[in-house]
Symmetry: C2
Subunit: 262 residues, 2 copies
């Protein structure tokens, strides 16, 4: 499976423009040979939208249909962040849509980041689930979730071999992009695609530095500061060899970890 990752500026509160942009990016990624396109956190609405989150969520609610049509028309899987209306609450969500337009997985951010997130969203998510695509088991996390080792670990233990992580990672946290993402890939022996925004968004300066990392922690593709479409191809035999050579998952001693869930 070949992954394309789009890093770019967010579209603020212009859902119609976002659908058009998504169609264009999907076609471009497909031309590049990608089977799957990963886009940033809250891609459809922009991340830093404050009180507009509820209105955007209402606009999107009836609207994952356009994304499903774009996926099917281009025969490409899509992962993107969006504001999801759940009852009267808004979740910071990410959807995985298959190349036939099926919604394969929907994830709601479980770890909210400060007042920024909490003013817009509720942490409605309760589980770390995986979905199958092209023979891979995929888990979704969003931005701040990955800074905690536990969610990625839970997905690895649930069988994930690939984590797709829409993010809106801003200054001064370059540490996360440069060191933490390769470490999560290494310690859980899985692929990670970490798709960030670039540029500024109403006072937030995004760090860019999106990447696709391999199960040995190698950085397979990395973006700089601006708009980019980067690619990496997953290598199943290499992945199997990494897991056979380095038994990091098998050598865990869960009987010693009880304090982590208290």
């Amino acid at each position: 499976m070949k992954i394309a990752l789009y890093q770019g500026p967010g579209k603020i509160n212009d859902i119609e423009a976002a659908w058009a942009h998504l169609a264009e990016r999907a076609a471009c990624a497909k031309t590049g040979g990608a089977d799957l396109l990963v886009l940033p956190e809250m891609y459809l609405s922009g991340y830093n939208i404050g009180a507009e989150a509820a209105r955007s969520a209402a606009l999107v609610q009836t609207g994952l249909a356009p994304a499903r049509r774009i996926a099917e028309a281009n025969s490409i899987a899509l992962v993107f962040g969006y504001p999801e209306l759940v009852g009267e609450q808004v979740a910071n969500a990410a959807a995985l849509i298959g190349p036939d337009g099926t919604l394969l997985l929907n994830y709601r951010k479980t770890h909210l980041f400060g007042a920024l997130d909490r003013d817009m969203f509720k942490a409605i998510g309760q589980e770390f689930a995986v979905a199958e695509l092209h023979g891979h088991k995929i888990g979704l996390l969003i931005c701040y979730d990955i800074e905690f080792p536990e969610p990625a670990r839970a997905l690895a233990l649930a069988g994930a071999d690939l984590l797709l992580i829409p993010t809106a990672q801003m200054q001064p946290y370059t540490q996360v992009a440069r060191h933490l993402i390769p470490t999560r890939a290494y310690e859980n022996q899985l692929y990670i695609a970490y798709a960030n925004h670039s540029g500024s968004d109403d006072g937030l300066d995004y760090v860019g530095l999106s990447s696709i990392c391999g199960p040995d922690g190698a950085v397979l593709a990395a973006a700089g500061l601006g708009e980019e479409l980067i690619y990496a191809t997953l290598d199943k035999p290499h992945h199997a060899k990494v897991r056979e050579t380095d038994p990091l998952l098998r050598d865990r001693r869960p009987e010693l970890y009880a304090s982590l869930i208290r």
Copy 2:
């Protein structure tokens, strides 16, 4: 508190020479203003000693007394790795000795690394405990232990603000020194001193690259490939500010992490 970290080649099976070397390193670190000297895994015997581990452990058994005398004579705390005889078994252990010569903490490696470790040691260790020194709460881990996020997390949850990690980290795992150590410091918001061997040891090529990292993931001091004594000073007000500004430990959601202990 000022930490000195010694990176250097192991002494293989020459315990008397190791005591003399330890006395010299302790005096040198004290001259450099250090309150604590951290040395590599199995420092007293060398790491890659195979069937000699039991004999070395028997030699060391009666012998932490020399280390306690060295600590007291130089008024400096010491952390070093050594083979510990426990009944008829040998543990890969690390001791923290206070500046008055008191044994403050003894840790036995819980995660054994492949046939190398398993041919020499039993994983007798069962807990992640902390000890106080100069107003800091210190946890010990050894080498491979830190590659799993859980042991460091358990120590952070037990109140540790400083992890001291004797290691014997060899090629090709530079990933650990370069990315994983700063990530463990960042995600647990604590200081880490990671003290490695340099050079080669009967077919193992150590990567050097020892470091002392801060609670924001910053690399405060880093060694290259050879013998070095590096220093860093802990900054309590900065540490408190990091934990106040970034609530990474408070934002955990342990109710979602149940699968990690199964």
